[in-house]
């Protein structure tokens, strides 16, 4: 019995010590890791949706609480210290799962540009829409007050209707929350 007790005490002590020290390392590196991950994933998209800016939108990201559970990252673009626009993601459901679209919006709610961040669409079919510059450029200039519906103010890429609709859905959803986001970002 004493042997078992000794076993438990030693192993537990090691594990607790290890977990304790790791918790600290984790807290020290957490912010940086999130920044690095976003930088790889989102930074190219941010560059694509804004014409020009001179800050690091990833570093200055703002967390906006939409509801109790839903928190999104908002990336502000600045020029000479003045906020010129914000970028954040909208999600639509496509053929192969979620389609994540980053949209850049100026302060008046006008879309500056959009870029697909992540999708699972079929190569050669759905990707016709995700890669079409013409299709994506249709969104430029639209914004709060636009209908944003396929067949009305957005023309779908033929052969990739489903994906076109998913992208449009993502943009529409993002625009819907714009007033709230703007209020938070201020």
């Amino acid at each position: 019995m004493r042997n078992i007790l000794k076993l438990i005490v030693v192993l537990t002590a090691f594990c607790v010590g290890s977990a304790f020290s790791l918790a600290f390392v984790r807290q020290a590196t957490k912010e940086r890791i999130e920044y690095q991950k976003l930088k790889i994933l989102v930074a190219p998209a941010v560059k694509a949706v804004f014409p020009s800016y001179d800050n690091d939108p990833i570093l200055e990201r703002i967390k906006v609480k939409l509801t109790e559970k839903e928190i999104i990252n908002v990336f502000p673009a600045k020029k000479a210290g003045n906020l010129i626009g914000i970028a954040y993601e909208g999600i639509g459901s496509g053929h192969g799962g979620a389609v994540e679209v980053l949209i850049g919006i100026d302060l008046n709610g006008k879309i500056l540009g959009i870029k697909i961040v992540k999708h699972g669409e079929t190569p050669g079919i759905g990707t016709k829409a995700t890669e079409s510059v013409e299709f994506l450029n249709q969104f430029k200039g639209k914004g709060v007050g636009s209908k944003l519906a396929v067949g009305e103010d957005i023309e779908a890429v033929s052969g990739a209707t489903e994906t076109s609709a998913a992208i449009t859905e993502a943009v529409r959803k993002a625009i819907e929350i714009f007033p709230k986001v703007k209020q938070e970002v201020g």
């Binding site: 042997n3 000794k6 076993l7 030693v10 192993l11 090691f14 594990c15 290890s18 020290s21 790791l22 390392v25 984790r26 590196t29 940086r32 890791i33 690095q36 991950k37 930088k39 790889i40």
Partner: protein
């Protein structure tokens, strides 16, 4: 004492250099040597883990009961591995992405566990430090050497700079997994040849 310190340090660099003389830790040697940056990165990660775990185990060697020493060693090594994982993720993200699963797998790399069992649990802290540093750097050198060869001839680049002449057609085979095996096998053979010439 100084003489012994130097000896413990240098043995890892040639006489017992892993993974050539000690055929241990082959998985990262094969997987993380497609580019020089990855090879050096992997080597340094392992060196850090090895030095830290060697020192800590040497410090605690009188506290750990022998029946549970292996689980304890594993916990110590795993702790440092997670630290490395978090730090590379925070500061060297591209390297972290390139090495992928092989960073957490340092835990089961035979080198840290083997050194803990064979050396650190029996020797004083200072010697364990020298041993860990020597072995780690030896491992780094081996990986770098293999990576230099594979990157130059497999991709035609060195640290991502093109260095071969313009018409150079890279041997893609060297970048593929079987190329890694063959390459390491040949290098081991050459090491043996040099080693046997010395005697």
């Amino acid at each position: 004492m100084e003489g012994r310190l130097v000896k413990e340090f240098t043995k890892g660099l040639w006489e017992e250099i892993p993974p050539f003389r000690f055929v241990l830790g082959l998985c990262p040697t094969l997987a993380c040597t497609t580019a020089v940056r990855d090879g050096i990165g992997m080597g340094l990660c392992l060196t850090f883990v090895l030095v830290c775990s060697n020192m800590l185990i040497s410090l605690l060697r009188k506290v750990i009961p022998s029946q549970v020493r292996i689980p304890c060693f594993i916990v110590v090594v795993a702790t440092f591995v997670i630290i490395v994982e978090l730090v590379t993720q925070a500061y060297f993200y591209p390297l972290y992405m390139a090495l992928g699963i092989f960073i957490p797998l340092i835990v089961v790399n035979c080198i840290p566990l083997g050194r803990a069992e064979a050396f650190a649990s029996k020797n004083a802290v200072i010697y364990s430090l020298a041993d860990g540093l020597g072995m780690g750097l030896g491992f780094t050198c081996s990986l770098t050497a293999l990576a230099i060869f594979r990157e130059i001839f497999g991709k035609g680049t060195l640290l991502y700079h093109h260095i071969m002449w313009s018409g150079f057609e890279p041997f893609a085979f060297l970048q593929k997994p079987p190329g890694a095996f063959v390459c390491l096998g040949l290098m081991l053979g050459i090491m043996n040849l040099i080693g046997s010439g010395e005697k």
